[in-house]
Symmetry: C2
Subunit: 212 residues, 2 copies
């Protein structure tokens, strides 16, 4: 395999869009979620996010990176006002509509992208009816990342909606069977194919493949 | 589709391992990387991480969540001492060895899991020779997340090594072709299959599929 070697000083010489595509590719595959919020005027908002990550199981906490300078700026405003937001896994059957939410709309992205808002009686933020795995969160902590002005929001999971046939006996959720997609770089969407689940690793013990 | 509905109060009733598998599944597909570090005694360390995410393209910044109470605790110590660490994409051909690094070893995980340390002349941290996409980072910022004591480390990318045949004309890196895997929950590994790359979204403009 022939490797190219790039230094940070090379990145500065890259054409801007080349650099954006390139650097966004580096971290590997990402989660693909729609974040649903609502404004103080009652207008729903939907934005696609790939920087969503597990922070803890007990209490159940999820982190989200928000760029104040890019399209989903309403998301941040709405969360700061209403404290609640939703995460909705992007499915194979509506990933193009999900991608389209990144355009700068004046109207609600639900309407513009032909997705359906859905509400629970627990909080004010809208879910995406078309999504197969939906998470309701309450804002718990906010961090300003000095180095480039991005913001880390931490949400506490208040409720989840999951198809009953993808929850395993040991709590593992088969998001592949549920139809969740993954994404890479800024604009590439992928389905997945399981290699295997592996047993808990211990020194001097052979790994076993777990049946799903 | 029949949905199950769970509240935060239900999570508390879950058996511990069930809860861990369940909550770790919620965020969707994750990146799968090995983090390479070296201690003040010169012992190399390798740990698998799925909470790695893009933070910015210019400067190129990557975030990493570290749980001080779980296995990769040497990673944090070593980064705080030496300031440098590496990220190495996990490939299809060594994902079981990568998973095995999560066992609690006294010796270096490179040795225990039959992976090969490799060094550049730019910094002290070890790369994984078997990996096809390698990133060298310098610690730039650290945040303590009050709510559960986890730590966010932000690294500035100092160099990358990438196979030349996976870098597109517009900077997109085809990590699927390169052989990177994705993971879900705590122990499930998946290959991917591209649905498509989509054009930049604008209101009232049809999305176009970009050739890779």
């Amino acid at each position: 395999m022939k490797f190219n070697h790039y230094l940070a000083s090379d990145f500065e010489q890259f054409e801007k869009q080349f650099r954006t595509n390139f650097i966004n590719s580096l971290t590997g595959f990402k989660s693909a979620n729609l974040v649903g919020t609502i404004g103080s005027d009652g207008q729903t908002n939907l934005a696609i996010f790939s920087q969503v990550f597990h922070l803890g199981a007990n209490p159940a906490l999820i982190g989200l990176i928000v760029r104040p300078d890019t399209a989903p700026r309403h998301t941040l405003e709405n969360i700061m006002i209403n404290r609640y937001f939703t995460l909705n896994h992007i499915g194979i059957d509506f990933y193009k509509q999900a991608h389209q939410t990144s355009a700068r709309y004046q109207v609600s992205e639900f309407e513009a992208c032909n997705l359906t808002p859905e509400f629970s009686n627990r909080h004010i933020a809208p879910y995406v009816k078309e999504s197969h795995l939906k998470i309701g969160l309450e804002l718990a902590e906010r961090h300003h990342l000095e180095i480039n002005g991005t913001i880390l929001l931490i949400g506490k999971v208040v409720e989840v909606f999951i198809p009953e046939d993808v929850i395993g006996a040991d709590g593992y959720i088969d998001i592949e069977k549920a139809g969740s997609v993954t994404c890479s770089s800024l604009d590439s969407y992928h389905t997945t194919c399981r290699l295997s689940r592996l047993s808990y690793a211990k020194p001097d013990k052979e790994l076993i493949e777990i049946q799903v």
